[in-house]
């Protein structure tokens, strides 16, 4: 083991003189009077290594001994991850005793004494490679696959798999023989460096399915693909967090991983408090059972903020290798970028734009690239859909983090201050936002098949109505209500109809908060049918009153259970209204 001693300290950047070989990103422990502070090598120059410390460096002195560990920051992977609350380094926050976080206190991510019901999948004589399934345990109600460790290279022969029965995570559940004839024991737990993507799949095809989220402005207007990537930039107070929570609660995914990266602690507490109470809309079980929370709030050590998003992604890849549909949410990736900036600054690197490191764009791209839909060795498939939020300084989207993310993510859900001020939630801007997936032939085919032939054309048409309405609104504002032809008002109110009925959605209403695709289709058809009509109004006031009436009825429909008596009653009212156009 290589050792060293501290020779320099600026905040959480520590310089260490090393006596032996040391690797980039290697983990080391700095001994401060018996308290071990975890740190990561981020630069080596001669016999000096610069390390970022994951804890406060208060009290550290020159000469403190350092031990290098020979491995990178690793995640522990095994049954028991679900419903856990971890910090950025995967310490279990729930098993820490103190109210305050103690420096140098590291807790085990998994319960080593818990007993799991194991069922074998592989059998003696099978040829296996890394990530192949050996057996499974039930983690809650989800089948958790025990796999050949990802670090195993080459082909192995299964010598023995444990019989069905009750085991702890560290028990040997299989013995594999490698090409050289050596036997290796496999347990239910394995480790993997978080900054390296987990492979173990055959191919990563282009995403071709849509992930239903129940949020109309996303599903109808700019759908995200299963295995796709998207991001939500927005100024503070525009509803980023509410939208993320809605996605976590409703999206059609089997595993939800939330990385609270440098955000408010009370928001995380809200998740801790509410998720166990919330019912999963797909299975009726507690939402927490299929959720993992990685939380590095804004007051926790900055260096661990960077680690938190990588830890979250690694856990996602682990479940993807089991053939699961994973949704990964990171709030907010700007805080991660700021952590990179602080470190780059202390390293005295030449800064890029706004003081961010010059390779920011590359770092963000390679992180987003870890998401995706994959075909596994056994023909099954798994996916990670990744949605990150971005907190642009001053709400200005022309800043490095937003611009870099725009290059990496395929969906853009820009939150607009203007919409938020008018309380039009979700405040996703319908004109600026986009989903590149709508251009994918695979996705168009999928939607043709899943919803109806020509669906994407309808979506395009809806966007056109919104844009035309915006133009008309500007004209009305300049020339006055009476200064424009009544047809301008009609155009504007048609777009308002789309806005109020399709785009706006009450995240706090039990029914309106989540809209299944079938219902989204029904409402969009209805709205387009109305927009296709041409009305003959005598004056703009008549037009305004008429459309306000329609909007009110349609909103009542949104608040009613689909196809219920109440729903049909409002639908009847609407048809009646439409008769005297």
């Amino acid at each position: 083991m290589t050792t060293g001693k501290v020779t320099g300290i600026i905040a959480n950047l520590v310089t260490v003189e090393v006596y032996g070989p040391v690797a980039q990103n290697e983990i080391c422990l700095i001994d401060l009077q018996g308290v071990k502070l975890m740190a990561e090598v981020i630069k080596v120059n001669g016999n000096k290594a610069s390390v970022q410390v994951y804890e406060s460096t208060r009290g550290l002195t020159i000469g403190c001994p350092v031990e290098f560990q020979g491995y990178m920051l690793e995640a522990t992977l095994g049954p028991g991850l679900l419903s856990s609350n971890y910090d950025g380094l995967q310490n279990n926050l729930a098993t820490m005793e103190d109210v305050f976080l103690k420096r140098g206190e590291y807790t085990k991510p998994l319960d080593e004494n818990k007993i799991w019901d194991f069922t074998p999948i592989a059998k003696a004589g099978d040829q296996v490679v890394a990530a192949d399934w050996l057996g499974e345990v039930k983690e809650g109600w989800l089948p958790h696959k025990i796999m050949v460790p990802f670090s195993f290279e080459g082909t192995y022969t299964v010598k023995k798999v444990a019989e069905a029965g009750r085991y702890k995570i560290n028990d040997t559940i299989a013995v594999l023989t490698n090409a050289d004839g050596e036997d290796v024991n496999v347990t239910m737990v394995q480790k993997w460096p978080v900054k390296v993507a987990i492979g173990g799949y055959v191919e990563k095809p282009r995403p071709f399915k849509v992930m239903e989220t129940g949020v109309r402005t996303i599903d109808t207007l700019n759908p995200i693909a299963e295995g796709g990537t998207g991001f939500i930039p927005g100024p503070f107070g525009c509803g980023k967090t509410v939208l993320q929570h809605a996605l976590a609660e409703q999206a059609d995914a089997e595993i939800i991983i939330m990385a609270a990266c440098g955000e408010r602690a009370n928001e995380v507490v809200e998740i801790f408090t509410e998720f166990p109470e919330l019912k999963d809309k797909h299975t009726g079980r507690s939402l927490m059972e299929r959720t993992i929370i990685i939380c590095n709030t804004s007051n926790m050590p900055v260096a661990a903020r960077e680690a938190s998003v990588y830890t979250a992604m690694t856990l996602g890849e682990y479940y993807r290798a089991m053939g699961m549909k994973v949704l990964l949410l990171a709030d907010s990736t700007s805080r991660w970028a700021q952590a990179l900036r602080e470190m780059s600054n202390r390293l005295e690197e030449l800064p890029g734009q706004d003081g961010f490191p010059v390779d920011l764009s590359a770092i963000i791209s390679s992180f987003y690239a870890r998401a995706g839909y994959v075909k596994l060795n056994n023909g099954q498939s798994g996916s990670i859909t990744f949605i990150g939020t971005v907190s642009p300084a001053g709400g200005n989207l022309k800043e490095p983090v937003t611009e870099s993310t725009k290059k990496a993510a395929r969906c853009f859900y820009g939150l607009s201050q203007n919409r938020a001020d008018k309380k039009r939630y979700p405040a996703v801007d319908p004109v600026d936002s986009y989903s590149k997936y709508l251009e994918y032939p695979e996705i168009i085919d999928y939607l043709d098949d899943k919803i109806e032939k020509g669906w994407v054309d309808k979506v395009t048409k809806t966007k056109y109505i919104i844009r035309k309405g915006k133009d008309a609104y500007e004209q009305i504002n300049i020339l006055g209500d009476d200064g424009v032809p009544v047809s301008y008002h009609e155009q504007y109110w048609k777009s308002e109809l789309v806005d109020f009925v399709i785009l706006q959605q009450d995240a706090f209403d039990e029914i309106d908060s989540s809209t299944p695709l079938e219902r989204q289709k029904f409402m969009l058809d209805l709205i387009i049918e109305i927009c296709d009509r041409s009305f003959k109004f005598d004056n703009f006031e008549e037009c305004t009153t008429y459309f306000k009436g329609l909007i009110n009825i349609c909103r009542q429909m949104n608040y009613s259970e689909y196809k219920s008596e109440q729903f049909e009653k409002y639908f009847g009212q609407l048809k009646e209204e439409l008769k005297h156009e």
Binding site: T7, G8, I9, I10, A11, T15, S56, T57, R58, G59, L60, T61, I62, G63, N85, L93, A94, M96, D98, V99, F100, L101, R103, P235, F236, G237, G262, R264, A265, N266, V268, V269, E270, F272, T273, C295, T297, S298, N299, M300, V302, R335, Q338, A339, R341, E342, N345, P351, D354, G355, S391, A393, G394, G395, N396, D421, K422, K423, G480, D481
Partner: protein, 440 residues
């Protein structure tokens, strides 16, 4: 801060900037305190033998042969119940002529609360100001700043809020307070007869700016003592956080750090978050609530200081001079309390959130009508009624000099609805209208 025997003394500075000094020393700890030519300083950088200290009092006339004594420990505060009723400077030394406080010595700027051990903030803090209680209800464990232009009476409003709030302790952290404002706070606290529950840490404008950096940590260490050890409800007032951030930028600038937006240090977000995130609802019942002031430059919230603050705090309260009513009001559009839904309708009357939304929406209609009027377009009857409503709403509810219980605020709002609007125009639920509607 006393000197101890057998401390190593150095007398050779190798570099001096406006805020820092550098010397060669051994066995020095990161963050520890030292005295440089009689002034308090803190270690901010160590490189081999070279130690850089940030001198809180400024480095004017410090010679290269100045005496430097290291304390061997980071800044700390003696905590005990005797803190109550006292005034201190940024170093935690009494400035009210009283004796030094005896008590347990605690390092300031300590660790954060494990997020898993926190509880959901859920207790209402009534202030009597409708712009706050009705529209932006405050909750214990919340952190929220006033965004105000320098000419607005934010310190007055804050002291009003503090004195009306039902809390066990109020801790004032004053950064760059003018001497007049300091005396104002002192007078307000004394005349309210509340001195026994107030602790003040004050840095005034005539004191060195870098000293301010210690104020929030001092105030919050005292707050944690009462909230964690004594299970008390503590309200911390921090004014003015913009001046705190300015002091941060001075130090980072002197240390040759590359500035980010608006010449603020790249770590501004983390620096501010470390302070604000001390706000907490503890499982034992104690809590720390932070109300701060961030002064703006001509209402510009895109500047790095208010912008980063907005991303950290749970909302913001905007003060604005209202031309119609001639009063300072809490702006209902730009203000926000992110935690209000945890108490509205639950700890207050069932119609609270509905009344709030309706009254703000009608106020928005009034502002549209006003734009129409300014652009020379004709106003409808509804527009005119909106304008009248807005004036009365601003005077009777939004103005900061209002002091009434929440139920009365709700009743006042219903009275205004009945006076100016039809039931349908308010868009309120049938059920609530049946119960609360007031005809004029």
């Amino acid at each position: 801060m006393s000197e101890k025997a057998f401390q190593r003394i150095y007398t050779k500075l190798t570099a001096i900037t406006k805020a820092t000094v550098t010397l060669e020393a051994q066995g020095v700890m990161n963050d520890e305190l030292a005295i440089v030519a009689g002034r308090l300083a803190q270690v901010v950088k160590i490189k081999d033998k070279a130690v850089t200290l940030q001198v809180f009092g400024g480095t004017e006339d410090i010679p290269t042969n100045a005496e430097v004594t290291f304390f061997g420990e980071p800044p700390s505060l003696n905590v005990s119940d005797d803190l109550a009723g006292r005034f201190f400077n940024a170093y935690g030394e009494p400035i009210d002529g009283g004796p030094a406080v005896e008590g347990e010595k605690r390092q300031i700027g300590g660790p954060s609360v494990n997020p898993y051990k926190r509880r959901m903030p859920s207790e209402l803090i009534p202030t009597g100001i409708a712009g706050i209680d009705l529209n932006n209800t405050l909750v214990t464990g919340q952190k929220i700043p006033f965004f105000a232009d320098p000419d607005q009476p934010y310190n007055k409003v804050m002291s009003m809020v503090a004195l009306r709030a039902d809390v066990d302790k109020i801790i004032l952290g004053g950064m760059g307070l003018s001497n007049d404002d300091y005396l104002f706070f002192k007078h307000e606290f004394e005349s309210a007869g509340a001195l026994h529950k107030i602790i003040s840490f004050v840095n005034t404008t005539d004191q060195p700016p870098v000293e301010r950096l210690l104020i929030p940590d001092m105030a919050l260490t005292a707050a944690e003592y009462f909230a964690v050890d004594k299970n008390e409800k503590v309200l911390v007032l921090l004014t003015d956080m913009t001046l705190y951030a300015d002091a941060l930028s001075i130090v980072s600038n002197r240390m040759d750090q590359i500035p980010s937006k608006d010449s603020m240090p790249g770590s501004l977000y983390s620096d501010l978050a470390k302070i604000y995130e001390k706000a907490v609802q503890l499982p034992s019942g104690g809590s720390i609530t932070i109300i701060a002031v961030t002064t703006l430059n001509d209402g510009d919230i895109t500047h790095a200081i208010p912008d980063n603050t907005g991303y950290i705090t749970e909302g913001q309260l905007f003060l604005r001079a209202d031309a119609d009513s001639g009063k300072v009001i809490v702006d209902p559009f730009r203000s926000l309390s992110r935690l209000k839904q945890h108490v509205q309708n639950k700890k207050t009357r069932e119609d609270h959130s509905a009344v709030m939304n309706a009254s703000v929406r009608l106020y928005a209609d009034a502002s549209n009508a006003k734009t129409k009027l300014e652009n020379g377009f004709d106003l409808s009857d509804y527009d005119l009624r909106c304008l009248d409503y807005a004036k009365e709403y601003a005077t009777r509810l939004l103005a900061i000099d209002v002091n009434i219980p929440i139920t009365e605020m709700l009743d006042t709002a219903w009275e205004l609805f009945g006076k100016y609007f039809t039931k349908a125009e308010t868009g309120l639920k049938e059920k609530l209208i049946e119960k609360y509607w007031k005809e004029k």
